[in-house]
């Protein structure tokens, strides 16, 4: 019963539930408004005795500075926005955490949202963040046209695109070497004797997917292997369709002996499919996955450093805000081939 009462006290109706303001603190401490402000912000020019009185009033009233008003006055929000595809995807966890750490080191908070790979939702999120006047944005773009950001950039919102480049505008970009990584991964399979190699990846409208596909084609071409259409499955995303695509490749009268998978989710599904087959099919996946080393065989992957992507992007963001970074640039981080067994299986025809 006392609970109900207490909760009822805080119902809507009064702004912020009637929090005390600096004015209230000043009145209680018997000092001027600005003096309270000075104490709260640790500015000099307040005698210890006055400071004590003010501090006492603050504690007694449970005063907490209203940063909304502060932001309005100062023009900096000390917060940055992060727009990514899906917070729940294990690839974005470390990236997100890395951005957060850098933000924290600069005294900024992180606001984030998932675009769910929907360009409209991405725009909606980005603009909402701009309306809050975040100091900067780290964006993993879903769409490929970011001209809607022009006014924001001009207005001084620091912006860095990660994982995929910006579309139609000139902005900082931090990406992995998707092309090179995929090429190396496929070349690795070729080096182990494979010639009929399947590729299962996301829609080529997604930049990373297109680059990885390009890497696949380049490796095949370098080896003088003509690619057959039946070996490629593009744009499949959901597990069921990935499963079907893989099964079809393997059921072909002249089946693939190896598969290169375009991202972590596809890799996981294909692992499941292969687990149901007795014939050994080689596999190299883009993106590392947890426990990949404990499977039989271990899963060979092209790993990218998600944390480094996030860290690099966030650091560039704050350098933009410092003013120590002038020209937009494109940074490409290397990938790393991790051999664990699945990519070293010989062809079994």
């Amino acid at each position: 019963m006392p609970d109900v009462t207490r909760r009822a006290d805080r119902l809507p109706g009064n702004r912020y539930g009637n929090r005390p303001t600096m004015k209230d603190v000043a009145a209680r401490a018997g000092v001027g408004l600005k003096t309270v402000s000075r104490v709260v912000n640790g500015e000099p020019g307040v005698t210890p005795e006055t400071e004590r009185r003010v501090q006492e009033a603050i504690d007694a009233l449970g005063f907490r500075r209203n940063d909304s008003a502060r932001v309005l006055r100062k023009g900096r929000t000390a917060s940055i926005g992060l727009v990514l595809e899906d917070l729940a995807d294990p690839f974005y966890g470390p990236l997100s955490r890395a951005v957060e750490e850098v933000a924290r080191a600069h005294g900024a908070l992180l606001i984030n949202g998932s675009s769910a790979e929907d360009p409209e939702r991405e725009q909606e999120l980005v603009l909402a963040l701009c309306a809050r006047r975040v100091d900067g944005l780290v964006v993993i773009p879903a769409g490929d046209d970011h001209r809607y950001l022009e006014p924001e950039l001009k207005a001084g919102v620091a912006t860095v695109f990660v994982d995929r480049p910006a579309g139609q505008i000139d902005a900082d970009v931090v990406v992995s070497d998707n092309f090179g990584g995929a090429r190396d991964g496929v070349a690795h399979l070729i080096a182990h004797g494979h010639r009929r190699i399947g590729f299962i990846g996301d829609m080529p409208r997604i930049h990373t997917a297109a680059e990885r596909l390009r890497g696949y084609r380049a490796a095949m071409e370098d080896a003088g292997i003509p690619v057959e259409d039946a070996w490629m499955s593009l744009g499949v995303t959901d597990p069921e369709r990935v499963r079907r695509a893989a099964e079809e490749m393997l059921a072909d009268p002249h089946p693939v002996t190896a598969i290169f998978t375009g991202n972590n989710r596809v890799t996981v599904t294909v692992i499941r499919v292969l687990a149901g087959h007795t014939r050994g099919v080689a596999l190299v996946g883009f993106d590392d996955i947890e426990l990949a080393d404990l499977l039989q065989p271990g899963v060979t992957v092209v790993a990218q450093d998600a944390a480094a992507l996030g860290r690099t992007a966030a650091e560039r963001l704050f350098r933009q805000l410092d003013g120590t970074l002038l020209a937009p640039d494109r940074i490409e981080l290397p990938t790393r081939l991790v051999t664990r067994g699945s990519g070293e299986l010989p062809p079994s025809d």
Copy 2:
């Protein structure tokens, strides 16, 4: 070179890089300030012709409403804070995403931060969020004393604790049935003939860890098995120490035949240890892990529904804000035993 110029335009010095305000829009459209406000907010009482002129000016200037000022005026920020332990932990990804989805459905943005299991950092984060006047807080507590939140609760900040209960204050709590889940998991091992069962878990000061330990003890007691100290390892967290703890249990002259692990990270490490042993040791872990079904043997786990935790918590939060939820309550979500093989191995003495 043009880039440098463009970026230089947006250097600090002028607030928000001199964004246009409603006043500017009003001047350009030749209307009053309030009329612009009406158009921006879709309020009625504006002739189509006037609206067109205003809209034109908005587009021409690239105006975007300043939500900081709006918040200051209206008293609601339409944002909620989420404080968790580590964004990069795969357990929190789905939880975080679920909270975000609910927030989105209510038109709110999500600000989040990682406490890194440090009570001080948790408090710092929570208070920073309160200073921003978030409408509500979802907290996965690191500390066990939350009296510092008293003034905030009184001021009307909706608050829900998830995964672990609040300390020293009366607040909404959403948790998994850690005790029951652990008891069932251990009972499962006992049912398969094990009597010497090890437990490796986190520090008992963490509520979930303590509850799971209690579940372990209860199951053993129910079966009339006295627990030996050598079977329990508490407070180990980092992989190296977990590894040592597991090795010691297995090296004992009278070793354990099964291990119950207290969370996903411990489970993963122990899987690695067991992979190096030939003797079959049974394993049941708390928390599900990806690919657990593909290992040999598959890993039996007590799974909790992280997304449901987040969703439930966020929904309660918004019901607090609605005013449809009056008394703080404690909600316990069930866990689910997923048998995959490792927990069904017979004792091998």
